[in-house]
Subunit: 416 residues, 2 copies
Amino acid sequence: MISREHCLAADARDPLASLKSRFSLPDGVIYLDGNSLGVLPRSARERSLEVLEQEWGSGLIRSWNTAGWFELPGRLGNKLGRLLGAGEDEVVITDTTSLNLFKALAAAVRIQREQAPQRKVIVSERDNFPTDLYMMQGMIDFLQQGYELMLVDDDHPLESLLDDSVAVLALSHVNYRTGAMYDMAAVSRLAHRHGALVLWDLAHAAGAVPVDLNGAEADFAVGCTYKYLNGGPGSPAFIWVARRHQDRFWQPLSGWWGHAAPFAMQSDYQPAAGIRRYLCGTQPILSMSLVECGLDVALEADMQALREKSLALTDLFIQLVEARCGQHPLTLITPRDHAARGSHVSFRHPEGYAVMQALIARGVIGDYREPEVLRFGITPLYLGHADIWDAVEVLRDILDSRSWDRPEFRQRASVT
Amino acid sequence: MISREHCLAADARDPLASLKSRFSLPDGVIYLDGNSLGVLPRSARERSLEVLEQEWGSGLIRSWNTAGWFELPGRLGNKLGRLLGAGEDEVVITDTTSLNLFKALAAAVRIQREQAPQRKVIVSERDNFPTDLYMMQGMIDFLQQGYELMLVDDDHPLESLLDDSVAVLALSHVNYRTGAMYDMAAVSRLAHRHGALVLWDLAHAAGAVPVDLNGAEADFAVGCTYKYLNGGPGSPAFIWVARRHQDRFWQPLSGWWGHAAPFAMQSDYQPAAGIRRYLCGTQPILSMSLVECGLDVALEADMQALREKSLALTDLFIQLVEARCGQHPLTLITPRDHAARGSHVSFRHPEGYAVMQALIARGVIGDYREPEVLRFGITPLYLGHADIWDAVEVLRDILDSRSWDRPEFRQRASVT
């Protein structure tokens, strides 16, 4: 059986261990929710004061030029692109994942409208991240042109829905609830073979697992920067568009920042060349600037080393929970197969909500997702093997003592 | 003739003079561009560190509840609503002005689609803020349902275009270039008399002039918080929807934050009741939190006193420029009529671009807008009469000495 000493020894050998010092983590907390909101990079304090006091306070309007605000979405997008297998000028940081999904979906719909107008079905999964489905529904409902959303249920093969009515296949690379990961290249090939375009949501993948968008010949991708990329609460999201599609159409959220000549104040929209046409309105410069702090730490880590550590830690977590909490009604819903696993691990428990509140009260912060799911994000940038051991020990104690069984842990908060 | 001493005496009597101390202004600068990007409230430093270190760094995911992140768009929206003649739960702070315009326009289009489907024209002005026109064009082009945009040219009466084909009249309350202001109540009545809904862009009005959305019986309004409201570069925008329209339809940018039960993780979108359905994705919490710093100063000022001072300063500016720079080819394009003037003043000059660069080099920061327009934002929260006197004196000197006539002042920057 693995002991805490084994874990400490593994940590001593960890080539990524030093990266933890780049983050400011609260005392007494084991943070297993970096897949929901990442942690604070130490460099963010200085950077935020610089943006606030120098760029805004002193530079004022001049900072659009002198502080490079106008270039920020593309400059940071290029940095992020290195983690996603994207080329230069293929990614911009902007808006929210929901909005970027709308842009990408609209572009895909327009491409199909021209090349295969009978394709009016958007295929996704019932278990996809809800806001993705809501945006698809919003677009379909507004267009009123006979588009429809077809949702695959768990364990139903995707291929059964892919026929010549399908315009777009829109999936999450890593499932937000289960942590299950698709083979992006294989699924993209499958979609293309059936004439569909493929749109990937990388919210639970970017910075967490190796991604190779161009290698997979994907068409569109979106995602967020506030989870594994540690960009800060609600930091702006990103969008990637394959170069072959970039200049084909303009997307309908066509604001000034995506205009070919944004300062000519023309009354007609003319899209900028390339990925910049996916920009829309003025971006929150302070929140966007801090994205760079988290990105820079992620770029220092070797992605293969990060992936190896992620798999080692998620394996360890599963193994310890099953060994030490095996008599409790916990059901693993995350794939054991490495190739099909992202960087978080989820177990169902009939009292999942209360168990998670009890964990949080003891400083082990994961999160709860309907239905009954205890979700634990395992972020190798700042977690070690001993953290996993300690977290499982708290879980074991809570389950053995039934200390989750208290009214205050059953009380639902407004935001869970 | 007015002297600098007269100006100093007026400043000594100014009941709003003390508010200047709430802002951090760079030395050696007279800032006449608060209509483009407002200045830094002194409280923003402490608040940003609190959000960064306590809310994000220590609170982490818990801050959605404990720091009230989930309530932020509505709580700040209610504060802002007091400046706009809006009721409780009629305004949210979120996304960008461009995106909020898309949401409002989509909602208006849906209302008309149901009640008057033959109405397919959106009327605006050729001189409206370009991004507003771009968003209208983006929607029309994507919908492909026969909608069209008709643009009124300067001095062409709006009424001539308002017939029973018009679905929506979309205007800026204060024109970004000229500073001309519409009578919101009269124009809203005119639109309604012709069966059109009216959508106001308040970007150059919110915090600058008294606005009474409910009093004017407007239908929709959007605007930004980073100009006269001093929310910070690219701080999130706002949207107001008249209560009578709020629950009629959902707008197509229907993300998780606008869902009736956002944490139930349902696969079907169900809009929240009221204005919350105009929220979409996760917001940039740091940038949004700082909106409150500027709002709190604006709420301390009496809006009527602010308006009186704004008119006094814009009158003074016009009077001094005409008296002291009268021999130069400057043409006032801002209305002299108080009822038709916002809070900025614009002059055309054939060498406007170079003149503005020369002014900026001397610390008088206004901005240039195509074509040939020198634009000066007059923000009474932190400007006094002597500032206006000093700014005009620099302008006079630059024009008299022709010191604008240098290659470096003709060189166009990437962002103007």
